[in-house]
Symmetry: C2
Subunit: 484 residues, 2 copies
């Protein structure tokens, strides 16, 4: 066996021993080019030793004149090598138009969808593809050109989760790249040494594809500046993959400690958010959007604007996010929630406890005010007892006195809701009236001494209600100046 065959097979052996230590059914994606042909040949040579049962898959993308001949060639090769083989065909051009995708994206989706289907059919837990160090370098550069962020610069993993997570069975399917540390030249040398005649894909030279320009123009220039650029980029991808793993594990921990899904939104603990390093703040906001909708259409500018508003910390302030979401700064929490839902539940909120003298006025958060006045019983409007305007409360002025406290709720709060005839926990009341959890935290309460007199916008307390004996009435009213 030639030196190159030994090298390649040792690399493939190591990768498979790590990824599939027990062996088993393995699907091999074979285009017929040097990379995948080299991979298939090496896997065949090692199959017995590694306990692998191989199955070949080839998808004719219908994009080139020669593609049907390539498919037939792979089929004949498999017959010759006595390997089970599934040939597929699709019209990528049609898929691209239908899905408004680029040809490259449509081809990728069609290919991985096909491979997942065949893997299910043959019972394979893993699919091996022929990506090399050159493909890795191109991928890193393409992501750099696109501004794809750290996860993009990590390139392709040697043992990855399935790239189409929504595909049926994708959670149990892995994508293996045993050749990722070998160069394309090495796979070509392997084919030559093993007497294999790979197919040529003429579209690999079409400058309409950015990847081809990266391979044919950018990489040769970079190679002049650093002859080892392929290895350098592969190393960089590996370094960054490690850093990404560290960041993701931290992100997960912080998320678990400070985030919760509630009432169709996500809430993040504000102080914990503020303490995080910039990169984690960005990640937490992105994750919140991903949990509620998707990262699609989320721009850097949106993340940064949301982050700035979150850090400025003005209660009630909002920032727009895609998919109809917004970030809203609450008291103690940051809410990422549907903007519509949030509008439905615009309730007054209280930033901190405050005293209110009657008559008088208190400024609440986000443009809300609470005014208190005293009227003689006779001055009340006729329909005072029947209108159910939630933002006004009529209380017995003598029971209330001249000073009340405004505060948010605390554990253990209770009241005697008007009309209920008995004591009730505040938390139960708020659930009964179906107040969204998002609004409960900073909802203002009006207290007389230790007793809740009015749960603003929700219910008065029986003990402070206007009765037949009431002579003077305390009128409490909340209103909003402007859209906050």
């Amino acid at each position: 066996m030639s030196a190159i065959e030994t090298t390649v097979q040792a690399t493939v052996r190591q990768a498979l021993a790590l990824a599939l230590p027990g062996g088993g059914q393995l699907l091999v994606a074979v285009s017929g080019g040097a990379d995948s042909l080299c991979l298939l040949h090496a896997l065949c040579a090692l199959a017995l030793e590694l306990g692998l049962a191989l199955h070949v898959a080839h998808l004719d993308h219908g994009l080139r004149a020669a593609s049907a001949a390539d498919a037939a060639w792979v089929g004949a090769l498999c017959a010759d090598w006595e390997l089970p083989c599934t040939l597929g065909h699709c019209e990528v051009r049609v898929l691209a138009e239908r899905g408004r995708l680029s040809l490259e994206d449509a081809a990728r989706q069609a290919r991985y969808s096909f491979l997942a289907r065949v893997a299910r059919q043959v019972g394979a837990r893993a699919v091996a593809v022929g990506h090399t160090a050159d493909d890795q370098a191109e991928t890193v550069l393409l992501h750099l050109l696109r501004g794809a962020g750290l996860e993009g610069l990590a390139g392709m993993a040697p043992d990855a989760r399935w790239p189409l997570p929504d595909e049926r069975g994708a959670d149990r399917l892995r994508l293996l790249r045993p050749l990722l540390t070998l160069t394309r030249a090495e796979t070509e040398a392997y084919c030559a040494a093993a007497g294999l005649l790979p197919r040529q894909d003429e579209s690999n030279r079409d400058p309409a594809y950015t990847r081809n320009r990266v391979r044919l123009e950018l990489l040769p220039l970079l190679r002049e500046l650093n002859p080892g650029i392929t290895a350098t980029l592969g190393r960089t991808a590996q370094v960054i993959a490690g850093e990404v793993a560290a960041l993701q594990s931290i992100e997960l921990k912080v998320w678990a400690a400070m985030a919760a899904e509630e009432s169709g939104g996500v809430r993040l603990a504000r102080t914990v958010f503020e303490q995080q390093a910039v990169g984690l703040q960005r990640r937490l906001l992105r994750r919140a959007v991903a949990v509620l909708a998707s990262l699609h259409d989320l721009t850097w500018e949106q993340v940064e604007a949301a982050r700035r508003i979150a850090l400025a910390g003005r209660t009630g302030a909002c920032a727009s996010l895609p998919h109809g979401l917004r970030l809203r700064v609450g008291y103690g929490w940051l809410w990422i929630e549907p903007a519509q839902l949030a509008a439905d539940r615009d309730w007054p909120t209280l930033a901190q406890p405050m005293q209110l003298h009657i008559p008088g006025e208190a400024t609440l958060a986000a443009g809300w005010r609470l005014t208190a006045q005293q009227l003689a019983r006779a001055e009340l409007p006729d329909d005072w007892a029947t209108t159910r305007e939630p933002w006004v409360a009529y209380l017995d002025a003598d029971a209330v006195g001249c000073d009340v406290l405004l505060r948010a709720r605390r554990p253990g709060d209770w009241l005697v809701p008007l009309g209920l005839g008995g004591r009730q926990k505040l938390s139960d009341l708020l659930i009964n009236v179906k107040m969204p959890a998002v609004c409960r935290e900073a909802l203002p309460l009006v207290l007389v001494g230790e007793a809740i007199a009015w749960v603003v916008g929700v219910r008065c307390d029986q003990r402070f209600a206007v009765t037949d004996h009431t002579e003077r009435v305390c009128v409490l009213r909340v209103a909003r100046d402007v859209e906050g």
Copy 2:
């Protein structure tokens, strides 16, 4: 004022308001090119508003024929604008030869050293330089070409620590880059609008400098593939700087929880190390090397080899690191330490407690064995009491009995060291005999019941010593099979 002047001055205003909110003395590095001239002009326009007292510094690197004329030109400009100015001169070629540095590295060192000195002299806490978004894009690409890792891809920060940390006063000096989000074309447009005639540095076109090839060849090609590449790379740098900040803060926390400097080495808690994501494991190993020596000469391969050996976890295994350091897998700890020091202190270690029946043999870690036999008093060698062979102990066999326990030390351990005549804490004994702390943790102790009979290699206990009444002697001996 033209639109470009408004834009540039707004950018500089925002940067300075953030970096030096109270204003104060600011040193401005001015080469005379468009970037630094634009910066100086904008700073002059804003100095009163921002409370800045400006001082200009220019270093003649002595590399170009025109450099003395450039220096004179900057001096004349400052006289004209009534700005205090310090002109410096050095021979970078000489410095490069003397320090075996590239011209670029030598120039950079000379420049930042000069700027730090002038900043000290004029009492400036910050130095502003004219780096633009184009410089940032070039820097990111240069670091990518070099494989500089994540910190390199973060490029230049708008408000950075001093780049030469060993310079006197460097810990209090900051490097500001107010133009970092503006392009070079914008600084040129600003100069044109403000009627400024910047100097041209012909060495900016010299293809001998990699940076020039990046600017003149690589970036134009990238711009064909992505017309917004400068902004994309600037964004990428900013994203990565945020991620790096997150990683560094986590690294610091994990380090504080699991690392300690001791006896000229660093020890890392093994289980904590194993639980970290790959990127953090690499960072912890690099930090350990940086703490003891420097990151210079530490290769990726060394870090990966050390990491693999650490994770394999065979007690006693070692990996080479630069600067004469090595990683050694200890019981419960990973040691990064001078290999020489480590060799001086090759002591037996115990991986876990074990019973030993006498006569019999116990296998210790890293190829060490402990054998126990019983001899009649008469069988002892003549010199048994006078030789001070540390790896052999002679005890009273009847005092010892037939079963001993081997274990590592525990808090509160004590013994009655032979010859001392009284009880002593084991920890004090080990300090007195100057045993390196690194060896103490897993040093085997031989116990009879609860009592320490032999601190292996160090001292016997008086209570188990051979006396005139001893009839049978228990001989304990440790030896090493192979280099572990």
